[in-house]
């Protein structure tokens, strides 16, 4: 259950024993072929635990818990389950095994432009996206100007979203999601887009949020970014959590495995 309780500072004594995210033996499987063929029997059967032919476990036996205020970098090669793990924590995908308990609201920077509607204006889109993430109209009103300033998009408020450049689209989307004031922030390489100046601005915003006690999950291939933001690392390989350690140790291990 997600609640929007105020963020507990990372240093409070109670936070040590109250993980904000607790993942226990989580597993999720996908079909190897793109087409999700299903038999009519599947439609009524509850989830079967055994693996059927043509399926593979994208993640399995993953367990960890996260204390409030931690910044965690997820490391691994492509296709090792990093983004899937993020989606499980965001609860936009459901695990086939195990449990994922997220005890606070989540601001997901995953496919951030996905919620924006081409035919609606920037203004309507801001209210729609923030609203779907649980903000009331008055709350959005209070933050609206700041969001628009951050996105540097003031002249385009009533322009249909489809007429914005791709850079502007990412900017406004980032500005909205990063202003949700949720205790947990999930970042999935969205910052690879946009120009250098705006990227730096986003990074400063993320640092600001971290300083304010937010918990963060960060997926990236960029070693420098990982070391900059994260204190702890999760190293995923072949769908399993291989190492859960301080970020430097995790990156060294990853480099030893693949870059040598």
């Amino acid at each position: 259950m997600a609640t929007n309780s105020p963020v507990a500072p990372a240093t409070s004594p109670s936070s040590v024993n109250n993980p904000v995210i607790r993942v226990t033996n989580a597993g999720i499987r996908f079909r190897r072929n793109r087409r999700q063929r299903r038999s009519f029997k599947d439609l009524f059967s509850s989830r079967v635990r055994r693996s059927r032919p043509g399926e593979f476990w994208a993640l399995r036996n993953v367990s960890f818990s996260v204390a409030p205020g931690e910044a965690i970098g997820v490391v691994g090669r492509n296709g090792q389950g990093k983004s899937t793990l993020l989606k499980l924590v965001a609860e936009v995908m459901l695990a086939d095994e195990g449990t994922i308990a997220v005890n606070a609201g989540v601001a997901p920077l995953i496919e951030i432009t996905g919620g924006f509607v081409d035919d609606l204006s920037v203004r309507d889109n801001v209210y729609l996206t923030a609203g779907l993430h649980g903000m009331k109209r008055a709350e959005i009103d209070a933050r609206f100007e700041e969001i628009i300033d951050f996105a540097e998009i003031g002249d385009f408020l009533d322009t249909p979203y489809k007429h914005l450049s791709s850079g502007m689209r990412v900017r406004i989307a980032f500005a909205v999601i990063s202003r949700l004031e949720e205790p947990i922030l999930l970042v999935d390489e969205v910052l690879a887009v946009g120009d250098k100046g705006f990227r730096e601005k986003c990074y400063r915003r993320i640092e600001e949020l971290l300083a304010g006690g937010r918990t963060m999950f960060f997926v990236s291939h960029n070693e420098r970014d990982l070391r900059r933001f994260c204190t702890r690392g999760l190293y995923l390989d072949k769908g399993e959590l291989v190492l859960d350690a301080p970020i430097d140790e995790v990156i060294d291990r990853y480099n030893a495995d693949y870059n040598s």
Binding site: L43, L132, K136, R143, E181
Partner: protein
């Protein structure tokens, strides 16, 4: 810097659900009406043109042996609820596919993706009721107290469409062909439902026709102007089928939710 920002609102689960459902429903309506010049009138124009065509064919070309007088009103009281049914059901085939990006990035209860379509088409239906009023005044028809049954009809129709939507929406993700099969079935259903005729006109097939869940629902709507059309046998069957379909729908939806999220 963030000191002036008020604290975030605490939602109850139901409040949050209603908030999200309403946001997406009003978004659908806003997109539909802001992108076209005639906006609202398109949703009325479609059934109006259809009603005019059938009225012309069955009263001017052929000698009408079905339905009741005034026939144009008889047609509209069937056509407008039909537009709700067919519009919502055919939209549910794309409920997940069209919104896949949003579903992959936003955590809201997944049933909203279906219910918002039932609701937005339902609101369009309610907004088209003045058309019936205009024609009723124009033709001098009397409104009977049976008009209260329309509320029951709306309830049953909502359940029926939601049930069908909960079955169709997830299945289309796995069987894309179902989308076209649904469109074809809807076209067949138009003629198999008492829209241009009434259930009594079916003669020997009347009992069979009552097993179409739309028959009872339409007879409830029509009772407002044509109380002789009210057929409680058909209504009971409609109610039973609607409840059963909704139960099956909820089951199918629940069982397939995680596979849908992987498949889109």
């Amino acid at each position: 810097m963030t000191a002036a920002v008020p604290a975030r609102h605490e939602w109850s689960a139901f409040g949050r659900y209603r908030h999200s459902l309403w946001l997406l429903t009003s978004r659908d309506l806003k997109v539909r009406y802001s992108t076209s010049f005639l906006g609202y009138f398109w949703s009325i124009l479609d059934p109006l043109v259809m009603a005019t065509i059938y009225w012309f064919v069955f009263t001017q070309v052929f000698n009408r042996g079905v339905g009741h007088d005034p026939y144009i009103l008889f047609l509209l009281t069937g056509l407008l609820p039909w537009m709700w049914f067919t519009g919502a059901v055919s939209d549910t085939t794309r409920a997940f596919l069209k919104e896949s990006k949003l579903i992959r990035s936003t955590k809201i209860p997944r049933t909203i993706w279906v219910l918002r379509l039932v609701l937005s088409k339902g609101i369009e239906f309610l907004a088209s009721i003045p058309v019936i009023a205009v024609f009723a005044i124009f033709t001098g028809a009397t409104l009977h107290w049976e008009v209260v049954y329309s509320l029951l009809a709306i309830l049953l129709q909502t359940m029926l469409i939601a049930g069908i939507g909960f079955i169709v929406a997830p299945l289309v993700v796995f069987f894309r062909d179902l989308e076209r099969a649904v469109k074809l079935t809807l076209r067949f259903m138009f003629y198999a439902s008492p829209i241009i005729y009434s259930l009594q006109d079916l003669g020997d097939l009347e009992t069979l026709g009552a097993f179409n869940p739309l028959s009872g629902i339409f007879s409830l709507y029509r009772a407002s102007f044509f109380p002789q059309d009210l057929d409680w046998f058909a209504v009971v069957i409609s109610a039973a089928i609607s409840v059963v379909l909704l139960a099956i729908g909820i089951l199918v939806f629940r069982r397939n939710e995680r596979a849908v999220l992987k498949g889109i």
